[in-house]
């Protein structure tokens, strides 16, 4: 019973141990009631209830006023496998493209402006590099998940 989750870009392996009719990990344990509700006992002895729902590959967990979104990584895969394609996080319209293929960019440099949720969003380079391709132009509608442009690391 080992599962891998992506937490803030890092992969975490969670190995569960069966214990007293529940499952435990790092000294914390959980039981599940007939309705699928999670009752937790933390390592410090405190207890609480968690709400959990899976959407796509992501487990959403709420406990003690906090919400966690934990992406489950299929066995063998890694969350580090994402390429350097810059992906539209939501559907929208391209307002401006500020770079073209072959341009070199600094970390933080704006490359594209996307309109979505009635707001303008600026897509900036996460690191210095060379623009390999720009897939959309001003006025184009883009779907969520569309690769907007591709950036190659300078190193």
């Amino acid at each position: 019973m080992q599962h891998r989750f992506s937490l803030k870009g890092e992969d975490v392996d969670v190995a569960l141990v069966r214990k007293n009719g529940g499952l435990s990990y790092q000294g914390h344990s959980v039981t599940v009631d007939a309705r699928g509700r999670l009752k937790l006992t933390l390592a410090d002895g405190s207890s609480c209830t968690a709400h959990a729902a899976k959407v796509g590959d992501v487990w959403w967990v709420h406990m003690q006023g906090r919400t966690f979104a934990l992406e489950r990584i299929e066995p063998g895969a890694s969350s580090q496998d994402h390429g350097d394609g810059l992906v539209a996080p939501m559907p929208g319209k391209i307002l401006e493209t500020l770079v073209k293929a072959g341009d070199t960019v600094e970390a933080g440099q704006p490359m594209m402006v996307l309109e979505a949720m009635k707001m303008e969003h600026r897509i900036v380079a996460a690191h210095a590099g060379t623009v390999v391709a720009v897939h959309f132009q001003s006025g184009d509608q883009v779907n969520q998940g569309a690769v907007l442009l591709e950036l190659e690391d300078t190193n």
Partner: protein
């Protein structure tokens, strides 16, 4: 007034539709195709589906709305907030069509909706205004260069605002000349996109001030009253997120002076209905007129909770020609509203989308939820990412904050990233606790942006929960149905209760 068309969507449409139902008034909702599954049309007696894909083609399309009113026989239109609520031309078109406009006259909207005219009106009423200028030029290049010149006269730091704007759209703060050109171009583009109007207003940015606003109501019998103030200083990027009444540092003297100024402003334009006059309150007690919103306000519930006045119901009464029902207004206790957004506060407040797989609001005494969504809905990029307004009331400010903390801890939203944790952190913020917030509190507190405090044990417990869910297959649909496979009880016809 027997049938009202609500020319809005989402949370405020729900608020108005419910108020109409309570008042015994028939309702018509208008609804874009991508809103067909939303909650608000379910609360209306009739629904008119709008043609078109964009907001301009649907909720901003005056002729479609007027046609919807005509075809359904609605006698009045309630515009809610945003959309066409502050468009004098629409108010006029509504009146020209022989309908009741639930709001002030087109003249009042124009006078107050236009920031420059409003400033003049307030100056005439003896209320100080913030130094500033407006640029009306249509030509892009000319407008930008005129803006640049005006900026030099007004001085830095300054604020760019869409003249016909609201809700932080088309608004930008500029601290020094080097950032001005890009900010001005962006503000203008956004203003045109959002309001079809590229006029930009520049004003001096007063730091360290509080945002205080006065709710007023005026009816046709000549009564104009104010319902006290709301403090809405806590803003992130000019978007209010935490609003309260009364203002924690308000004095009776300032309240009286501001209230008088607000009533004077309303009277100056023969105001009718509900409206809000916004002020900046400087640390020295001086206040400056900011603008007047000639419509119901997002944060109206906090005033309702402390005064006991149902502002939307009063709007309906006043529009029907009746006198307002609230007499001498008295504030009681303390109310706080927070705005729950589908956004990622740890990532520059970027709007988020996704399904509301779980949407479970808190319950109990002193809690009010105004929302337009429910579990199972999808948050889409089509509209504003505000999911709900959570409002609490308690006898004192301290207790209201305690209640808000409890309510936010209980609020479960899974499937879409929200700002709940950020709002919860706000409740522990030193300035919020002491009531000494200003319009820059959020930026001052989290200059590098907000991120949640790490809590290793809870993170591990969350991982455990997810892993347990995966192992036990809690995500498989068979677990999510009703828990009991039993049928209902057999018919009870052979039984009767024994006593008395």
């Amino acid at each position: 007034m027997e049938k009202v068309l609500v020319a809005n969507r989402g949370e405020i449409a729900c608020r108005v539709l419910r108020a109409c139902r309570e008042a015994g008034i028939q309702t018509v909702a208008i609804c874009a195709a991508n809103d067909a599954g939303s909650m608000f049309p379910e609360l209306a007696d009739e629904v008119v589906m709008l043609q078109g894909d964009t907001i301009a083609e649907t909720y901003l399309n005056q002729s479609q709305l007027l046609e919807a009113a005509r075809s359904t026989g609605a006698q009045a239109i309630h515009p809610g907030f945003g959309f066409l609520s502050e468009r004098a031309d629409f108010a006029q078109a509504v009146l020209d069509a022989g309908l009741i406009w639930i709001g002030p006259s087109p003249h009042a909207i124009e006078k107050m909706g236009d920031k420059m005219t409003a400033r003049k009106t307030m100056k005439a009423a003896g209320v100080p205004v913030i130094p500033g200028e407006e640029i009306e030029l249509e030509d892009e290049a000319a407008a930008l260069s005129a803006l640049e010149e005006a900026a030099q006269r007004v001085g830095y730091p300054l604020l760019l605002k869409a003249s016909s704007g609201g809700g932080g759209k088309g608004m930008r703060a500029v601290t020094e000349p080097s950032g001005f050109a890009e900010a001005a171009a962006g503000a203008r583009r956004e203003a045109i996109a959002a309001f079809g109007d590229g006029r930009i207003y520049i004003e001096r940015l007063l730091t360290g001030s509080k945002h205080i606003e006065i709710q007023i109501i005026a009816d046709r019998t000549g009564h104009t009253v104010h319902l006290g103030e709301r403090e809405c200083s806590v803003q992130r990027r000019h978007q209010k997120v935490f609003e309260e009444a009364p203002g924690p540092t308000m004095t009776p003297a300032i309240r009286e002076a501001m209230g008088e100024a607000a009533v004077a402003a309303a009277k100056a334009v023969d105001y009718e209905g509900a409206g809000t006059v916004e002020f900046l309150l400087a640390p020295n007690g001086e206040f400056f007129f900011l603008e007047m919103n000639t419509r119901i306000q997002v944060e109206h519930p906090v005033t309702e909770m402390v005064t006991g006045v149902d502002i939307v119901r009063e709007q309906l009464r006043i529009a029907a020609g009746e006198p307002m029902s609230c007499g001498t207004v008295q504030m009681r206790g303390h109310a706080i509203e927070v705005r729950l957004y589908a956004e990622d506060p740890a990532n520059g407040f970027l709007p988020s989308i996704g399904p509301l797989a779980v949407f479970c609001p808190p319950e109990g005494p002193g809690i009010r939820l105004d929302t337009g969504v429910r579990e199972g809905d999808d948050v889409t990029p089509n509209y504003d990412p505000m999911l709900a307004k959570l409002i609490v009331w308690a006898p004192s400010r301290v207790e209201a904050l305690e209640r808000m903390r409890r309510a936010l801890d209980e609020f479960v939203v899974l499937g879409t990233t929200t700002n709940v944790a950020f709002l919860r952190d706000l409740c522990d913020n030193e300035d919020v606790v002491s009531g000494s917030t200003t319009t820059t509190t959020i930026d001052d507190t989290w200059p590098q942006g907000w991120s949640p405090v790490e809590h290793e044990a809870l993170t591990q417990a969350a991982l455990l929960s997810a892993a347990a869910g995966e192992t036990l297959g809690l995500h498989r649909p068979s677990r999510s149905g009703p828990s009991s496979a039993d049928g209902p009880s057999s018919p009870f016809s052979t039984l009767s209760r024994r006593f008395p």
